[in-house]
Amino acid sequence: MADFSWVIEHFDQIVMDSQDNLEVFGVIDTLTEVLKRSKAETMMGLMMDIKDATNLLIEEHNTNSVHSGSQLFRQYATRAWLDLEQNFQLLKSELIRTGEQFRINALASKQKIAHISSRFLRDGMKILTYGSSVEVIAIIEAALEQGKRLSVYVTETESSSPVYKFLMERNIPVTLMPISAAAYVMKDVDLVLVGAEVVVENGGIINTIGTYQIAIIAKAIGIPFYVASQSFKFTRIYPLNQKEIPDNIFEEHTPIPELKAIIDENPENAKMLYPTLDFTPPNYITLLFTEIGVLTPSAVSDELLKQYRAFNELAIN
């Protein structure tokens, strides 16, 4: 196996440097570097190098973003191999070029999303947002540049701080509320706008814990629930319930002092459930804002099938 001792450090550096701290940039950049340094002479050898490096990354950072990023890279490589009629040298240079372009394209696609979907934000609207998403920030920024006046409801959770900071800096009227007040405010809000960690095959999303709750409340009250996400977050996983979220991290949580005192008296009895991710099924999502367009959840699978060209390989006819 070739020398991959530099892989983890390289990944961490890229993620830190990248404006949005996105792990997927780390993955694509690192794998592109793997290609550049690879001494393989055949497609098989190249894919082996990519696989080995990916395994190292996953061992260290076992998250959905790393999985989907590496899967995206491998699939693109396989597709390019078919497209370039199996010319190795051409393939290698094409993949390196695309890998380097990826971050530039990602920034461009973020702007595209903002441009397309800022139309859904009209002057005077009240928005509820949850978690922190660079795409959501970009959309609100674009709407502001168009001269629209918006007010935003933000929940008091750790994950919301980047969004809260952004809104305060822009002097946008922002209301802070606990997530338990989501149903209370829902009727006053015009739309809900969130990002996604990952978009799954049926158009549902995996996102910060609490997203599903807000989606259910929005549907019950008749408020549109929009998800902003770049298309590289589409993955071919298909959770059927909350337990099927891959690699959900359960936090070691310290309860509030009032409860902690009671727990300390009887620690064996105290079970704690603090998941960090939940899964929102597609029927709660109104539309997805992506750089390939504004999609309904059912369009996600169409796009994935197109990308993976699965049906060409396994067609019966």
């Binding site: 158009g203 699978s301 396994l314 006819n317």
Partner: protein, 355 residues
């Protein structure tokens, strides 16, 4: 339309008299008489096809996968012994039509079989310039590879379906489906710890067949009749059923009774998985269970030997299939992976492009 179909028929069979007016547009169950004796004088059908047709009519071969593969195998025999003086393409085309029409007369063919017939006919274009022996070899090779693809598809579906069964799951299934049985057996072989609930209903009680296959493998099974489904559903984590076809609007055509199972599961937010090979996907749009269906012989229970006494005030109805709206289906398990029912038209369009 029924008159046209009647004129195309190769067999003169007595239609069932006790049927309902409301369903008279559907293919009716036919009273079995001698199959060769009832044949029209101007056509002849290969004995292998006659044997197969009788098996279909007597419900000896059940399940659209089994029927599809049996039809392909019969086609191989027919083509091997095929002799003609006519132009190759026309002769083969006519032969395919004759075979399928005979099988249709014995029992309406499934959508998967219809797709197989279309793809076989589209291969005729490739044999135009060949001689008889070359054409035979080409078509037989094509059939062999089609059968192989179906078997490979089933193996992949088994794998993807088994991956979706987790330790602690309680899987509910209805009647008896070949791919569902394979998925359950596969998950069990993978060492997963789960329970199976088999929901069954009269008059056919097909669930008993599945039960007999699963119990010897040590799989923990429960068996309930469909009337008790609301009783058992709180224990169930996932529903897994097979399909005759999935239509372009995502509607699943499956054994009569499946729709009830799916609707009840949906009302409880229990995921419904449908296992179906992509070759069975069809371009039709199914909005209800009435426009397309099959009227079967009423009271075909294996246990009950007493026929329903005839009475002019009594009409009996036994429909073969029903339709599950796409909204109630969480995922379709296919050989290309897990897809939402809304993505079925992708495959239908691809086939239309290819053909």
């Amino acid at each position: 339309m029924r008159k046209e179909a009647f004129n195309k028929q190769l067999l003169n069979l007595e239609p069932y008299e006790g049927g309902l007016e409301m369903f008279s547009h559907l293919p009716q169950f036919k009273v079995p008489v001698s199959y060769t004796g009832a044949m029209r004088a101007d056509r002849s059908v290969h004995p292998a096809v006659v044997r197969l047709g009788i098996k279909y009519a007597k419900k000896k071969i059940l399940g659209s996968n089994a029927r599809g593969i049996a039809m392909l195998t019969a086609f191989k025999i027919v083509f091997k012994e095929f002799e003609t003086t006519e132009e190759i393409a026309i002769a083969f085309d006519k032969e395919i039509e004759t075979v399928v029409q005979f099988l249709e007369d014995c029992r309406p063919i499934s959508f998967g079989m219809d797709n197989i017939k279309s793809s076989l006919k589209s291969e005729i274009a490739n044999i135009r310039s060949m001689d008889l022996e070359g054409a035979k070899e080409y078509l037989i090779n094509y059939i062999d590879s089609t059968i192989q693809k179906i078997e490979q598809a089933d193996a992949l579906i088994t794998q993807y379906g088994a991956e979706k069964i987790y330790d602690g799951d309680v899987i509910l299934t209805y009647a008896c489906s070949y791919v569902v049985e394979q998925i359950i057996v596969g998950a069990n072989a993978d060492g997963k710890k789960f329970r199976v609930v088999i929901v069954d209903s009269g008059p056919k009680y097909e669930g008993k067949t599945l039960l007999k296959k699963l119990l010897p493998l040590g799989i923990e099974c429960s068996y309930v009749f469909i009337g008790a489904i609301s009783y058992i559903l709180p224990e169930v984590t996932k529903v897994l059923i097979g399909a005759n076809t999935v239509a372009s609007n995502g509607a699943v055509v499956s054994r009569s009774g499946s729709a009830i199972v799916a609707m009840m599961a949906h009302a409880r937010h229990t995921p419904v998985m449908v296992a179906c090979e992509t070759y069975k996907f069809h371009e039709r749009v199914h909005l209800d269970s009435i426009c397309y269906n099959e009227v079967e012989e009423p009271n075909t229970s294996q246990d009950n030997d007493k026929p329903i006494p005839s009475n002019k005030n009594l009409k009996c109805l036994s429909l073969a299939y029903d339709v599950i709206p796409g909204d109630y289906v969480s995922v379709v398990v296919t050989e290309v992976g897990l897809i939402p029912p809304t993505s079925v038209p992708v495959f239908v369009l691809r086939d239309l492009e290819n053909n």
